[in-house]
């Protein structure tokens, strides 16, 4: 494991927006997925570790989050309307969840693949998410959970969204998906994705599957 993510984490913690932008720009030979998977995500985990080691405070973490958000928004702005035929994906964090950067990256990856996306951000009450999904009818609904006490909410949420009459695919990710088995909370109604890599391979397999279906 190289130390690229540590260097990026240090820049984020300094609050140096320009340096953070330049740092990511120098890896322009990496695709978006590699930037997210090899640099941004590990750097955010590393910041969490530094807090655990009592090296930094929660205030530092918040600053780093803000800078990282800025960098992602600046380097990967929304692609714009993907056309009416494009597939649709909507993302949100469960009510009470504030860790939204992971979803922001996921949304950006879907957008890069030509999907029309809506990222509803952190802390979204289920009722709002449900109504939005019912009206906009996304093919995929992705949600993120990172706090253990929200797991009962995850169960309610997956159950509710699975009842949508047009049967969207529900994806569940976030810090907890990599750490615990979330299957008991999803009961086969959702696809659980442990990290960005499993998301990437799930998406390619799904697209490949659809192409094969179309051929046969």
């Amino acid at each position: 494991m190289d130390d690229r993510h540590k260097a990026f984490a240090r820049i984020l913690l300094e609050g140096n927006v320009e340096a953070a932008l330049e740092y990511i720009k120098q890896y322009n030979y990496f695709d978006r997925f590699s930037i997210f998977d090899h640099i941004v995500t590990p750097s955010l985990f590393y910041i969490g570790e530094l807090w655990e080691q009592n090296e930094i405070s929660v205030a530092d973490e918040h600053l780093a989050t803000g800078v990282c958000d800025f960098v992602l928004s600046r380097l990967y702005p929304p692609a714009g309307s993907a056309g009416s035929l494009a597939k649709k994906a909507m993302f949100f964090c469960l009510e009470g969840e504030q860790h939204y950067l992971g979803l922001k990256m996921v949304s950006s990856l879907f957008e890069e693949k030509g999907w029309s996306t809506r990222n509803l951000g952190p802390n979204l009450p289920l009722e709002y998410a449900f109504n939005y999904a019912r009206d906009w009818r996304p093919n995929i609904i992705g949600l993120s959970v990172s706090i253990v006490y929200h797991l009962p909410k995850l169960k309610t949420c997956v159950e509710a969204l699975a009842k949508l009459p047009y049967k969207p695919i529900i994806l569940v990710g976030g810090r907890l998906a990599g750490k615990y088995d979330l299957e008991p909370y999803c009961e086969n109604k959702a696809v659980i994705l442990k990290d960005l890599e499993s998301l990437e391979s799930w998406v390619s397999q799904t697209i490949l599957g659809e192409k094969l279906d179309a051929l046969s």
Binding site: E52, V58, A59, H62, D69, S73, N119, G121, I147, Y149
Partner: protein, 262 residues
């Protein structure tokens, strides 16, 4: 000497080396549900490892941030001061810092919302710009019917592929719908010709030619244009006139002759 620790104005815990709570301050009751005697039952899952790493540490008077679960089922951040005594008991004083962090969180959330809306504003501006460019291209080659037989297309600015795409579609549509015998293209206000623009201009002339019975006249070509257009001028099914005035004069003369004959 006994310290009346229950009257401490902050949450305070004394725990043994099995992390059982031995005593606490009354202030602790205001924040936590103390039915379980285990101190770890108060700690958020994400802070447990941090607690283990810092309890009974050789360093005395440690200060760490820990997330606690309050009796209101919320997660709250406390700056926790820890010291160990000679009986291997840990003393923990919790200073709530959730409020100051809350302000920070609100600011962050405002910043995040701003970023989301800025993204959106930028995207909207871009769409507006694309529309404006298209409109600009439409206006750079308006189709003007001078009479039922004569149409005039003055072209403004540089001849680029983007501009010609718009002008071509517009011109073909009007010519198809009308009954024009002569279409005049005026290049007086043209700066440069881009090679991709020249190709599309040639396509336009060929298409008009294929639509039959049309005379395509080019006016206002300057010497510098001729250098850029070079061989194309010979291949194009067009004739050249010097100015609009001259063309209209010729048309009028022809009409007068026709009138006299009839």
């Amino acid at each position: 000497m006994h310290y009346p620790e229950e009257y401490l104005p902050v949450p305070y815990f004394k725990i043994d080396n099995n992390l059982n709570i031995i005593s606490y301050s009354l202030e602790a009751l205001k924040h936590f549900n103390l039915e379980s005697k285990k101190f770890t039952s108060l700690i958020d899952e994400g802070s447990i490892d941090k607690l283990y790493n810092n309890l009974f540490s050789t360093k005395n008077n440690q200060k760490i941030e820990l997330n606690f679960r309050t009796k209101y089922e919320e997660i709250a951040l406390f700056e926790t001061h820890i010291s160990t005594d000679h009986e291997d008991h840990c003393h923990l004083v919790l200073m709530p810092i959730g409020n100051s962090i809350h302000i920070l969180e609100e600011r962050l959330s405002a910043l995040q919302k701003r970023l989301l809306s800025t993204d959106f504003e930028l995207f909207e501006k871009k769409e507006e710009l694309v529309k404006a460019m298209k409109r600009l291209n439409e206006l750079s080659g308006p189709f003007i019917p001078i009479s039922e037989e004569l149409a005039f297309v003055p072209i403004f600015g540089n001849v680029t592929a983007e501009k010609m795409k718009v002008i071509n579609a517009n011109t073909i549509k009007h010519v198809y719908e009308g009954d024009f015998h002569t279409v005049l293209f005026d290049f007086t206000a043209v700066g440069n010709f881009k090679s991709s623009g020249i190709l599309l201009l040639g396509e336009l002339f060929q298409m008009l030619n294929l639509m039959g019975n049309k005379k395509i006249k080019l006016i206002g070509l300057k010497p510098s244009h001729c250098f850029q257009l070079n061989d194309h001028l010979i291949d194009w099914p067009v004739v050249f006139e010097s100015t609009l005035k001259q063309v209209i004069k010729t048309v009028q003369q022809k009409k007068q002759i026709q009138k006299r004959l009839t």
